[in-house]
């Protein structure tokens, strides 16, 4: 039996006239159990890039990884394999099969691996077609409500305008979750990040094609451990109040603010996708009308709903005080994650400036990133930053851009920019 818990960390005291309340809400799930693959409620689609750039070793590794993935999809799971170039094609079930998706069983597994083995590479790259086909395939099996896909590419989405990809992502958002993987150094981090963020997945760089198989195996293990198909984060604010932002801040930074759907006029719902036994942190900021010193009120109820039933609730309060020792304190959790969110944007903006040839901005932004990574104890970010900049003074964020920084190192830093370290409690 899955149980959810919501814990609130905040300084509820506001100075006279104060209006903005910040809180970190840790949502944890326990006893979730594995995804119910035998019940036919789970579907998995693997999209493999087969554009012309997927040359010998790269294609071999991708095919091998897809076969490993098929081995790790449990019996009973609905599954399909898609090959993608400037067009998308269903590889398995075979294009001439009467159904678009089948349940895994030993014979299907062997046949799927044979189909994957026959894949060849040619053509361009238009990922919108891949996503659209995956969506159509999932749609043929409406009973499979827990839908997960893996997208693997090695290149830039060069065969269509960016707007085409963006509008397709928007169209399929909420219909399935998707983890995006880029292999090698010719793909675009921001393209895959856009896909993964919208589709509640992760984005990773796989530098060595030999590592794809292990990554796919891990992705499937994670996907199959998610016993709760979908949970919604809900934020209630009082009449006259407003949500400033709702941001997932751990394990990665994802801004959810614009993804609000109205549950009631006072309650907004934000998608969080499927859950395993895990915990995630959310930064909720709300604005409420100021009250008299001494007054206390509820600024937000932060709830988790599964299948429209509220399963956990945390209270964010506001209490006005004229005691500066109370109001001046910043919750360490809020401070930590505010820094982590700024770290993610400093890295992304710094790298974008560097790519655009604006070295001054790049130096300032990446310097700030170095400072924030140190302050918030994000060692992964610090070590990745070190490969891109020479750090002169960590505390003050004084850096020089490394002349010989490799594109792979920059991509690794960019890809990992949204990963946060947990606050030390």
């Amino acid at each position: 039996m899955a149980t959810f818990r919501a814990e609130v960390f905040q300084n509820e005291f506001l100075p006279d006239g104060g209006t903005d309340v910040h809180a970190i809400v840790t949502v944890s799930a326990e006893g979730v159990g594995a995804a119910s693959t035998t019940g036919g409620g789970v579907a998995e689609i693997i999209m493999v890039d087969t554009s012309g750039s997927m040359t010998g070793a790269m294609l071999r590794a991708a095919k091998d990884a897809a076969q490993v993935a098929v081995d790790h999809i449990p019996d009973g799971t609905w599954f399909a394999i898609v090959s993608g170039s400037h067009v998308a094609q269903r590889v398995f079930p075979y294009p001439n099969a009467p159904v678009a998706i089948v349940q895994m069983e030993p014979a299907a597994r062997e046949e799927a691996k044979r189909a994957i083995a026959r894949l060849g590479a040619q053509g361009g790259t238009a990922m919108s077609t891949w996503l659209r086909l995956a969506d159509q395939i999932f749609a043929t099996q409406p009973a499979a409500t827990q839908r997960h896909a893996i997208l693997l590419t090695d290149g830039k989405n060069e065969s269509e305008p960016r707007a085409q990809l963006t509008s397709t992502i928007r169209a399929v958002t909420g219909r399935f979750q998707c983890d995006a993987r880029g292999v090698g150094e010719r793909w675009q981090v921001d393209e895959l990040r856009e896909i993964a963020t919208a589709l509640l997945g992760t984005v990773e760089l796989i530098a060595d094609p030999e590592d794809i198989a292990a990554d796919f195996k891990a992705l499937l293990a994670t996907s199959m451990s998610r016993g709760v198909a979908d949970a919604q984060l809900r934020v209630w604010t009082p009449q006259g109040g407003q949500v400033l932002f709702v941001r997932q801040v751990a394990p990665t930074v994802e801004d959810l603010t614009s993804r609000r759907t109205q549950v009631t006029p006072l309650i907004g719902g934000y998608p969080t996708g499927a859950w395993a036994d895990e915990s995630r942190d959310y930064h909720v900021a709300v604005r409420v009308p100021s009250k008299n010193v001494g007054a206390e009120q509820l600024a937000a109820r932060v709830q988790v709903a599964v299948a429209d039933e509220v399963v956990a609730s945390g209270l964010v309060k506001a209490a006005w005080s004229d005691d500066a020792s109370l109001t001046a304190r910043i919750s360490p959790e809020v401070a930590h994650y505010t820094g982590q969110a700024e770290l993610a944007s400093a890295i992304q903006e710094g790298l974008a400036a560097k790519a655009a040839g604006d070295e001054a901005t790049a130096t300032v932004k990446l310097g700030r990133a170095v400072q924030l990574a140190a302050e918030t104890g994000n060692e992964e970010a610090t070590s990745k930053l070190r490969r891109v900049v020479e750090i002169e003074d960590e505390e003050h964020g004084t850096v020089r851009l490394k002349r010989g920084a490799s594109r792979l190192d920059e991509m690794a830093l960019d890809t990992a920019s949204t990963k946060t370290s947990r606050v030390r409690r």
Partner: protein, 395 residues
């Protein structure tokens, strides 16, 4: 045992052994010998019905279930906040008024700055005896609001049940009964939560009780809640003497205003609860020689009006504003304290004394029954949790 009138023996509820009157513990098994319940004792003790407000079974444990709707019209959610505006649902304990008889009333209020009312009061009238009890929960110790209500109610019940045994002018009788009420209040504070003894900061509270009757005004206390005697004519008096650091400083010669502003002023040296070492209340008795008011209050009031003459002026002004109804007066004084800052919970209980002056009264010496002496305990604690100092007393 004071209050037991059925005979000279008490039967131990634990082992059935008989114990002598006045015994607090069974000689045979060591169990505490419970006092008479008011229901059992009052009819025997007095032919006069005791008037004791019953705040309901939950009053001491939890602030009553929230009302169904908020002032804004929204519903109240199970979490105690309005579903529309987010306001905290008012809990019954935030403001309680009692008036067991026309001449006695009290108001306890959460004040302005605190978020929970940890003060409690219990009033009673039996025959011609009036009982006022005020307990101020120590807010740094969780659940002290539960302890304070349990203690106040327990003490009131002991005093109401035992009043019939006190004879005219018997200051010693009042003292013994008041001390017993303090012990029984302590038992109640200790039992207020199941795991009190296991806690680092067990629930605790101050204690002050006043009884008026049998031609006497007697009071007992532990901590810094007070009783004042405010005669219509004559010199107003603070009958109690705080068990507090401020009182020690004053005893050492510091002026009241300076002592009460000192950083540790509100640290109390005696209290009720599982970690209290000495719970024998100090007592005092006096013979009022004319009509006046008995005031029992928590520091939420006297933070803003401490010296007896200041309190007397305050009351006189209040009578001028709202008349002589004790309920209206209590309400007015609470409102005054809140207007003055309301940093702490405020409790005001008033009883009007109207009996005719006792002709040529021989003076009653202040009887300090089982006076524990003036050595303060080593442990000190402040009944307030906010690190701020109270507003300076009103000029």
């Amino acid at each position: 045992m004071d209050g037991v009138v059925s005979g000279t023996v008490v039967v131990c509820p634990s082992c059935g052994e008989t114990a002598g009157a006045g015994a607090r513990f069974c000689e045979s098994c060591g169990a505490a010998l419970g006092g008479p319940t008011p229901e059992a004792a009052a009819p025997e003790a007095s032919t006069v019905e005791a008037v004791v407000p019953q705040p309901g079974p939950d009053a001491g444990t939890d602030p009553t279930p929230p009302p169904a709707t908020c002032a804004c019209g929204g519903g109240i959610a199970a979490d105690g906040y309005c579903e529309q505006c987010g306001a905290r649902a008012a809990v019954a304990r935030d403001h309680v008024e009692e008036q067991p008889a026309p001449h006695v009333a009290g108001v306890t209020d959460v004040g302005v700055r605190r978020r929970r009312n940890e003060d409690a009061m219990a009033l009673g009238v039996v025959g011609d005896v009036t009982v006022l009890v005020v307990c101020d929960g120590v807010s740094s110790a969780p659940d002290s609001d539960v302890a304070s209500q349990a203690a106040a109610t327990a003490a009131r019940d002991v005093l109401v049940a035992g009043a019939a045994d006190v004879t005219r002018g018997d200051a010693g009788g009042w003292s013994r009964l008041l001390v017993e009420a303090g012990h029984r209040a302590d038992d109640a504070a200790r039992d207020a939560v199941d795991d009190a003894t296991a806690r680092q900061d067990p629930p605790s509270c101050t204690f002050v009780a006043a009884v008026v009757g049998r031609e006497l005004l007697a009071a007992a206390w532990l901590g810094d809640s007070r009783v004042y005697w405010l005669p219509d004519a004559g010199t107003p008096e603070q009958l109690t003497e705080d068990d507090s650091v401020a009182a020690e400083l004053m005893a050492g010669g510091m002026p009241r205003a300076a002592a009460e502003r000192s950083p540790d002023a509100h640290a109390i040296t005696r209290w009720l609860g599982a970690d209290a070492e000495d719970t024998t209340a100090r007592t005092v008795a006096t013979r009022p020689d004319g009509p006046g008011w008995v005031l029992a209050c928590s520091d939420g009031l006297w933070n803003y009006a401490s010296a007896p003459e200041v309190v007397a002026d305050l009351l006189r002004d209040a009578v001028g504003r709202v008349g002589a109804d004790p309920a209206a007066l209590s309400r007015d004084l609470v409102a005054w304290a809140k207007a003055a800052g309301g940093h702490d919970n405020v409790t005001v209980a008033l009883a009007r004394v109207t009996w005719p002056a006792v002709a040529a009264a021989e003076p009653v010496p202040d009887t300090h029954a089982e006076d524990p002496g003036t050595t303060p305990t080593v442990r000190r604690r402040s009944p307030g949790s906010l690190p701020e100092e109270p507003d300076p007393p009103a000029p």
